[in-house]
Symmetry: C2
């Protein structure tokens, strides 16, 4: 599956005036619900409805390992990726707690973890390989594998959409994947590498400098600054990042609302956005991470996140925590009284 194959429909902007009028007639001063009003408008446009709804919310966590961890770019050993997949299955990770709280169905996908999971483990087995190649030495993936990852991400979303889900978030787990995401960000946004590389799971200053040097060396070696989005994803990406990219494109092509999570999930979106900027009509930016680079990604995309809680965990945790705010936006639009219906006086004209 190629990145160019997706078709993302544009929202019907004819609905904009009617939606804005509906929002403005609710019993509150115009604009008094701030970002929730912007969100309600976006949801109405994306769904083509004056009464948008949220159905069967899902978060899919894609897990994959990264050859670049051989270069000492992470504060945790690679084994943690597989261990955390088992933790997800046992219900003990942060995303389990937050998804349960919000009534969000959680699905875990082995996109390419360097571990054999039992066949009967309650995950989606979509392993492309036992971790990517070390991109300082070779390409992270072959082009065939990258396209297969896009395709599997696409298929998983297609299945979930068939279960009447219309809002979906994507999380990830993969030791080393902030290194991949920083490389993708640097090549796509052309922002200085210092703006793109951060502490990940907890590197100190010297370790962050080492991580930055590794990425700089790899980019020079591959002569990658003029790479196409697919080349960039193939050379520096991860199986989980490629699957999220395909999953997001498929979600938007089916007019599903996408809850965009943290630094790594947003790096997958950057790849999708480069070819299909119209994907933004379906995206809600849930949380601006404490990871260096994430705020710059948001500014590059020209978007405003709902939450800034200083988290840096991934897993889809930002998406899960933002979901109640999305419910609140739909709730006020559908359920609040109007000035007329509640017999409340309107603003004094000045």
């Amino acid at each position: 599956m190629r990145l160019s194959e997706f078709y993302i429909p544009l929202p019907d902007t004819n609905l904009r005036a009617a939606l804005q009028e509906k929002i403005d007639h609710k019993t509150k001063p115009p604009g008094a619900l701030g970002q929730l009003e912007t969100l309600a408008l976006m949801l109405g446009l994306a769904q083509g409805s004056l009464s948008p709804s949220l159905m069967n919310p899902h978060i899919v966590v894609f897990a994959g390992d990264h050859g670049i961890t051989n270069e000492g770019v992470s504060a945790y050993p690679q084994a943690v990726t597989a261990q955390m997949v088992l933790n997800f299955c046992a219900g003990g990770a942060a995303i389990n707690v937050f998804a349960r709280q919000s009534g969000i169905t959680l699905r875990v996908v082995d996109a390419g973890v360097a571990h054999d999971f039992p066949a009967d483990l309650a995950i989606t087995h979509a392993k492309i390989g036992y971790g990517t190649g070390n991109f300082l030495r070779t390409n992270a993936m072959t082009e065939t594998d990258c396209e297969e990852a896009l395709k599997r991400g696409t298929a998983i979303v297609g299945e979930i959409a068939a279960q009447d889900c219309n809002i979906i978030g994507f999380g990830e787990m993969g030791i080393g994947n902030t290194t991949s995401a920083a490389a993708l960000m640097h090549i796509i946004t052309q922002k200085p590498l210092e703006y793109c590389v951060g502490a990940g799971t907890g590197l100190d200053g010297a370790q962050i400098r080492h991580k930055r040097l590794i990425i700089a060396e790899a980019i020079a070696k591959h002569n990658a600054l003029a790479f196409s989005p697919l080349q960039t994803l193939t050379t520096f990406g991860g199986y989980e990042i490629a699957m999220i990219c395909g999953a997001m494109l498929q979600a938007a092509s089916q007019k599903m609302i996408i809850l965009v999570d943290g630094f790594i999930a947003t790096s997958a979106l950057l790849v999708a956005y480069t070819l299909h900027p119209e994907i933004l009509h379906y995206c809600i930016f849930s949380h601006e991470s404490n990871e260096n680079g994430h705020a710059t990604m948001h500014r590059y995309l020209g978007v405003e996140p709902l939450l800034r809680l200083g988290m840096r965990l991934g897993e889809g945790t930002g998406a899960a925590l933002a979901y109640p705010l999305v419910q609140a936006a739909v709730g006020f639009l559908n359920d609040m009284a109007t000035f007329d219906s509640a017999n409340v006086s309107e603003k004094i004209s000045s």
Copy 2:
């Protein structure tokens, strides 16, 4: 009831180290849940427990009218206060939608609305008067009425606490009450009036200047800059603001968690804080409003709000929207696995 009568117990800080250790052993990098970790620590300390819990959450909306509206300080007519009380009772306001979504019990109190509500209306009838006096001409309240308002706020919280509620938010409705709140803020924080006065429900630039001049004139007339907290509240406050002040003090004295809402609710807290700074151990700052002055209040108190959604509505809406984040903080602390229990490897020591 006098402001000095309350006794607020200090949290047992001996629990701090054990709580921090519990937080740090969860399967996530140290600090990776950002503000939720700070919140979990605060909740554990306030409740004196390694496993804090949230029981029977309530939001109480206090409504009152303001004589200062005679000076043309609001974008809406005074009648809206009573109309909105009826809207709350019919379930049509924003706070109804958000409280329902989060399973929060909503209670509406007539603190002093200039309207006679039917005796069988599902509100708490605690009316002190038919709106306060116009503080440009006279005191907003008599000292007796102000103390009675503190007492009624106290009693309402006592009743709710007896229903096993341990977390409570306070909202308000009162056309003109940002003018009262701005005056309270100016006198208590001594910040320039420009920092304290905002658009309220939607004044334009010239109207905001008029509002500022009215407040400046009133403060000069009462020679109020050296007023005690009780004098300040009596002279410039509102029945709903005084009841919230008493309610907050009572909540903290019973070790309940207080969800602090917007500009007006925070002005009530400022009065309480001046005599009882230890109240902050029980306060969660839910949302930083778009109302000019609210951010300065937060900085004055040295606190960090959970949300910044650009809202400016009051009613307790910020408290209701922040509540799921409080649930998430309790949830991760109680329900996440530890590195040991989930067999996840710890950070590589550097």
